[in-house]
Subunit: 505 residues, 2 copies
């Protein structure tokens, strides 16, 4: 029986990741990129279903941690920005007074913001009195309302989230899920009585990110971003980056501690139990369709996607074999499918009148974790054959198929985690030099597509030297703890801090 | 025990519907209208949850009828409208040649469309080469892609839907859920090989609307809209209207038969089994957050909302009574809640440390169908008290509480249907005259807030007379069948057709 060749699939080898990725998102029917606005893809049913399952992971974490789901308007009137601008001015003044280095570059961010949004200027044929922009994220619309909602300490903490479309006027090259202009976006915003409350929230966010990335079988690097890469108005920003197979890092989640900086700009105060008016402390936590981009990029292979069972639109495909020769096959396939569905699995029967090879081929591209074949011979032996998308086949007794299939799904997840960890361990290396020399003699030691971990404790201008000399971007300070002090690669001062540099998406 | 008075709730009496409706949507915490753009409300958790449950009803119908969920971009480049404009021109030419009266007023619709959309003219500081508009509905973006997807008869039927935000630059007075500028919108779009296929789709749409409205306990009037109220490019439009308590009708669902008119404009053709190129036939089916508006408006009473159990965010509230006097109460409440949850019910325990009267009051406003009280006395008698939001209390044995609660939820639904049907029967009346006289002598016979059913078979100018003389709008021809012929109220010609006139939202 002839099997469609890889060339026929049109999938480039995954070793050529920069060709493979943009091809597979369309070949596997996740999106259609032919919509006439670049960076605004059409979500096809398979892609949308995977994305909604990722949303379900986020919703379930939000429920577990008592966040409530809201939905705020897409359009923001320009004059609401006055409050944000006042934040920027105040922080600028503070910076000039030498108060806190974390607010550096805020003025640039502010003007950058206006450059990055889409502006609605007309309603019908009328020019709007106040132009509106499409939300790039929702601090401004949300905090305007929060200041109406929060009155007393009894209203705190306020833990909110929404899953919405956001927009960015992107001028760089667009890439499905990774850099798009209409973004499928998750954002949680919380308000607390004091800094402790916000501190705990940041820890809760970190834990949620760990749990979600574990479900997606994605290892990540968690860093505290350098000051100039901190979200405007934030005290600090932490981010989780996934190392993609080409060695570029993809920021998939960020969480920001705002202290009371935004709250002061938005008059977000409350009355404490003693009747004193106090400023709230705030945090935000953001994720997006980049999570799907990371899943696609990390787990797929030369034959197509491999979907982690937690978010696979179909976890199990059941394929009747030679059903025309035995009338019991169809009934058995339906019964098995029903048993699996009743256990909460996402199951699809492929009844198409095409050869089994074609079915395998199609579901392989889509990355369905398990394929079950059931034919007359299997029925008489009381067994069925289960193929794992990660490789291998297992004979499973029909009687305890459901529990065995749960085990096999777990083993697919475990295998994906192992492979991902192995890949990342090859792509993240210690920096090859103890100290970066003044000349460029070391340049041949920097490998393409590698993320470097290095001891670094320099200031901003040291970081600038580091980035310039390596041609890489500073991700920030690793969240992990290190025992040994090592000399900083720029200053030579001993430090326990480790930082990462990479080519970022 | 003092009970908060109605005045304290701030709910106007429902008999003053035009004050009651805008108040209750905020008092029951469905939305916050204080966002600084009129007609763009903030969805609060309770309202969003109810809306998502209505979406679930739509999704479940879509699954049952093999529609697939997509998500298309929000922004549409103006030049995509060229195709739509060519549709308008061709139909205009056809009309001038006297081909089909159904395309009347299309040119007006076209210019009306441009008046009703929001225009994005700038990305950052750059003026866009091609302006884009925010979708008011998605024919143009979807059909541009459909023409890439449909090649042969094997690709048909193509049955798609999406649930998205759409936008309308609304100049009339806005009302939560009923007339808004950012619309939570459902739209299904289908492509068929021939007119028969589209005909069957229209029947399927009608059946879905019936099923969804039954779940929402909403009676409706289904009409074929008059030609001038037909969607641009449609052969005909049918709509379901709900009669609100003030006698105004609210269009909650429409379905359109396009024949091949849109397909020709969008080059949407396929190759049939004999190799001939043919034009596709199309339909669309739309609903929106107006469904929630109808639920709120129809079922609520002087004390707040009454949510139909199918879409109630909480179907059952369990209230511990005197839990401080008996440590078994909390455990019993939790156990009961778990038993109900395991049966698939949406249950919330109200553990708040406030008086039972306050709890009743709060959940009454939110319209939770059933409230269960469980205290020490109930535990010893093995029973609990269930209060129905539609009135009355029932003592239920704890042993078979779950099945009894399912019955009680059904009885709440039945009661809501009965009440709604009774109300509508009072608001829809036969027209009081056999024939509308030339003078205005009959005007005192037209009651305010009444929908009239009347025999009418006149032409467009007769309809204009009818609308002008009654001050009401023609909803169109009733979908029901009538045995007896009666004289048309304008022409006097005998007709079996019945039409409705009303004040429309």
């Amino acid at each position: 029986m002839s099997r469609p060749s890889k060339a026929k699939r049109g999938i480039p080898p995954k070793s050529d990741f920069n060709s493979w990725y943009p091809s597979i998102v369309e070949i596997a029917d996740l999106v259609d990129k032919r919509y006439p606005i670049k960076g605004m893809d059409v979500w096809k049913p398979y892609g949308l279903s995977a994305m909604c399952l990722i949303d379900s992971l986020a919703r379930s974490e939000m429920r577990r941690t008592n966040h409530q789901e809201y939905r705020f308007p897409l359009l923001v009137p320009e004059d609401l920005l006055d409050k944000e601008n006042s934040l920027v001015s105040r922080l600028k003044a503070a910076r000039e007074a030498g108060v806190d280095p974390s607010e550096l570059r805020l003025d640039e961010e502010e003007s950058g913001f206006k450059k990055e949004v889409y502006w609605v200027t007309h309603g019908g044929e009328n020019e709007l009195e106040v132009p509106m922009f499409l939300r790039p994220t929702s601090e401004t619309p949300m905090y305007s309302m929060f200041s109406l909602w929060v009155r007393s300490h009894a209203d705190l903490p306020l833990k909110t989230f929404q899953i919405v479309n956001t927009f960015r006027y992107e001028t760089k090259q667009t890439r499905s899920f990774i850099r798009v202009r209409e973004i499928h976006f998750f954002e949680a915003h919380t308000v607390h009585a004091d800094q402790n409350g916000a501190d705990s929230q940041i820890e809760e966010d970190a834990e949620m990110v760990r749990r979600i990335l574990r479900e997606l079988c994605l290892p990540s690097i968690v860093c505290k971003r350098p000051v100039w890469d901190t979200f405007p108005g934030a005290w600090y920003t932490k981010a989780a980056d996934v190392v993609m197979p080409n060695g570029r890092t993809l920021q998939v989640a960020t969480y920001h501690h705002y202290r009371d900086q935004w709250a002061e700009a938005f008059d977000l105060t409350y009355e404490d139990s003693e009747g004193n008016t106090k400023s709230c402390h705030q945090t935000t936590f953001g994720m997006s369709e980049r999570l799907l981009g990371a899943v696609v990029g990390m787990h797929g292979d030369d034959n197509g996607l491999i979907m982690p069972p937690s978010v696979a639109p179909f976890q199990v495909i059941v394929m009747p074999i030679a059903a025309h020769t035995d009338p019991n096959v169809t009934a058995a396939v339906e019964e098995l499918s029903e048993r699996l569905t009743n256990r909460g699995l996402r199951v699809e029967i492929d009844f198409r009148d095409v050869r089994p090879g074609v079915k395998h081929f199609d579901w392989e591209i889509k990355g369905v974790p398990l394929r079950v074949e059931l034919g007359p011979r299997d029925l008489s032996s009381g067994k069925c054959i289960v193929s794992l998308r990660t490789g291998g086949k297992v004979e499973v007794s029909l009687d305890d198929a459901p529990s065995k299939i749960f085990e096999l799904l777990d083993s697919v997840s475990d295998e994906l985690r192992l492979r991902a960890e192995k890949l990342v361990s090859q792509l993240v290396k210690p920096f090859p030099l103890e100290k970066i020399p003044h000349d460029d003699s070391f340049e041949d030691k920097i490998e393409d597509g590698i993320v470097y971990e290095l001891p670094f404790s320099g200031n901003d201008s040291d970081a600038e030297i580091l980035e310039k000399k390596t041609g890489l971007t500073l991700l920030g300070e690793s969240d992990r703890e290190f025992d040994s002090d090592k000399p900083c690669v720029i200053t030579g001062n001993l430090t326990s801090k480790r930082q990462f540099v990479s080519k970022m998406y």
